[in-house]
Every structure is written in C-alpha cells, then in structure tokens.
Amino acid sequence: MKDRASLLLELADDELILGWRNSEWTGIAPFLEEDVAFSSIAQNEIGHARALYELAARDLGTDADSLAFDRTLDDYRCAPLVELRRLEWARTIARHWLYETADAIRLDALKASSDPEVAGLAAKMDREETYHRMHAEMWLERLLATDEGRRRLEEGVRELWPYALGVLDDELRTRFQAIVRERLPFELPDVEPVPRGRHEAELEGLLGEMTIVRRSAPVGAQW
C-alpha cells in the first residue's frame, strides 16, 4: 500500500508533465480554437499539480515548488505516457483521450477515499476534468468520422497503448482496458504496460527547460 505522499506525487507529476506537454501546442495547434483549448487544459493540469504538490509537501515537510522543480529525473513518478513529446495531432489526441479516460477512473477511486482532503481535492479536480473529457471525446468522434482520421488515430493509439496501460495500478487497469476496448472500433492487443519509474529520453529535455529559470536564480529568490 502506497503512503499518501507517494500517491499524490504520482498524480501531481502526471498532471505537471502532461500540462507542460499540452502547453507546447500554444501558438502552433492546427487552428486557433485548439491553441486556446490546449493552453487552457494545460493551465488546469498545472493548477491541479500545484494543489497536489501542496498537500504532498505538507506530509513531507517541504514546499510545492521544491517538489515540482528540485527533484532529480529519477525521482519523478509520472507515467511515461505523459513524458512523450509527439507533436503530431492524431497522436496528441490519442494520448489526450487515453489519459483522460484513465484519469477519470483514478479520480472516481480517489473521490471515494476515506481521506477527506484527498477526496475533496479529487472532486474539485474532476469538475474541471469533465471538460477535458468532453474535448477529448469530441476529437475522438471527429477523427473517427473519416477514413484518414481513423487510420491516423488508430496508429497513434496502437503506439501509445502499452504506455496508456501504465498510468493505472493493477486494480484499476482492467476497468480501463474494458472502457477503451468498448469505445474504439478496432482491436487492441494484450501487452505489458510501460511502468512508472522508467523514463523516456524526452523527459530530460523537458525538465531542463522547465527548471532553467529556477536553476539560474539564487536559492530563496523572491519573484
């Protein structure tokens, strides 16, 4: 059984890194509405990360910024799915939909937690995530509506499937597999999940960019 801080850090790292990846579409998405959407989703995810780090920091006797920015690469607990830097639209939508689907299952479980702080935070996050899920579903429909869209989505989902399976623990993964297979009109194989704790090469570059300002300023700098 994981302690509370470990559980919160996994979730916070997922939201921070995915928020960062989503923000990479700002200004270069296929059209303006998606610049706005992915920027807004990024802002929400990073807001969730902040609240989760704050709660974890209380348990660990540190502060949220230290958890977000001062750990070494090996200490990050995010799922490799969120680390991937695949700036191709259909893959981005595939990841978005797979992540939001997994995240909904995780939030449902956390909302039922006997820890009122965790349950309250999860419920507040879920109110916002509802709109991320609608956005992901809208794009899934749109891509599935044409032959080319469907082909490209399928390629993306197949590539990301082992990664998506690594987002949730064993006890929630079965439900995730069932929901994905029910919704998608193509078969997906039984494969081994890409587990947390392993990192993709792309994460190093992201952490370097994300922490450059903090590393360049003296410790304790006031902003």
Binding site: E33, V36, A37, S39, S40, I41, Q43, N44, E45, I46, G47, H48, R50, A51, E54, L55, P116, E117, A119, G120, L121, A123, K124, M125, D126, R127, E128, T130, Y131, M134, H135, E137, M138
Partner: protein
C-alpha cells in the same frame, strides 16, 4: 479605525463584497460565491476561500486583496485557500448572475444532478446574453479563461462567452 474595537462578521462580509473579481470585475468575490466562511475571534479574522478553478492565476492577488481589506477594518487577517469540493457555479448569487449577463457573459446553467455532458453543451439550452435567443451553438469548449466557453449566436450573429457549469 480605533484599535481594540471588535470587528463583526457582518462588517467583514460587507467589506469583502466590495472586492471585484480580478478577471471579471463586474462581479464581486462574494457574489461569485468563493468566500466560504468568515470567522472573527477577537481582533483576528479568518477567511476560508475556494478558487473557482484550481489553476487560477489571480489566486494570490485575491488573497492579498482580502487581507488588505480586512486590515483596513482594523483586524488581523488570515486567508486560507481551501481546495475542496465546496464551490460550484450554483454558488454564484442571483445578483451576480444578472451582472454577468449585463456585461455580456452568459451566466452558467444550473448544475443538474450529474456532471455536464457534451450533449448538453451542443443543445439549444444556452441563451445569448445580447439578444436572448437560444439559437446558439458551441464554438469552443475552452475560452479566454478556464471558466468560460465560447458560443455563437445564430440569431444576432455574435460570438459570446458562456460561463461553464462547474
């Protein structure tokens, strides 16, 4: 203010009701429903406050404004940010909703039993704040801030911002 004179909870609520939302200044923090609780203990005032959206960039601004306002009443202030499930758009007051509409933001639809759905967002249930028509369509789930969607009125051909139901 004379030191030592006790401030009342009503006076604090009244003062906080004068603070505008930093992003939509037509509505106050109290009308927005984000002030959850005010407790006065002697010369100490404790405020519990929940942001609308967790990534709200105006969080620190609002906290500082509330603390400043309370200090002006002659009391010591502590504003705690509470991240729980106590805020929903249903907490926006009737006056607040009317002010939003007058300023061109369609107020949020009441929250039904379950979470909002894409089917609802695509339905004709949303009224244009300019002409009152419900012939409006969803343009983008997301908008200029996390709390707003963008819709388009087919009747007066005007895009408008729709407060999300949260």
């Amino acid at each position: 203010m004379v030191r030592g004179l006790e401030v009342t909870e009503a006076a604090v609520w009244e003062a906080l009701a004068e603070i505008p939302d930093p992003e939509i200044p037509v509505i106050s923090l109290v009308e927005l429903g984000v002030v959850k609780d005010v407790v006065v203990e002697g010369s100490q005032v404790r405020v519990q406050f929940t942001p609308t959206f967790m990534g709200c960039p105006a969080l620190e601004t609002m906290r500082a404004q509330m603390e400043e306002t309370i200090r002006e009443l002659g009391a010591e202030a502590r504003v705690d940010v509470v991240m729980d499930d106590s805020w929903s758009t249903d907490r926006i007051t009737a006056e607040g909703r009317e002010k939003l509409r007058e300023a061109g933001f369609a107020p949020p639809a009441p929250r039904a039993a379950g979470a909002p759905t894409l089917v609802q967002l695509r339905s004709k249930a949303f009224r244009c704040p300019y002409c009152g028509s419900t012939e409006t369509r969803l343009d983008n789930i997301f908008g200029p801030t996390p709390c707003r969607s963008v819709r388009y009125c087919e009747s007066c051909r005007q895009p408008f911002e729709q407060f999300k139901t949260i």
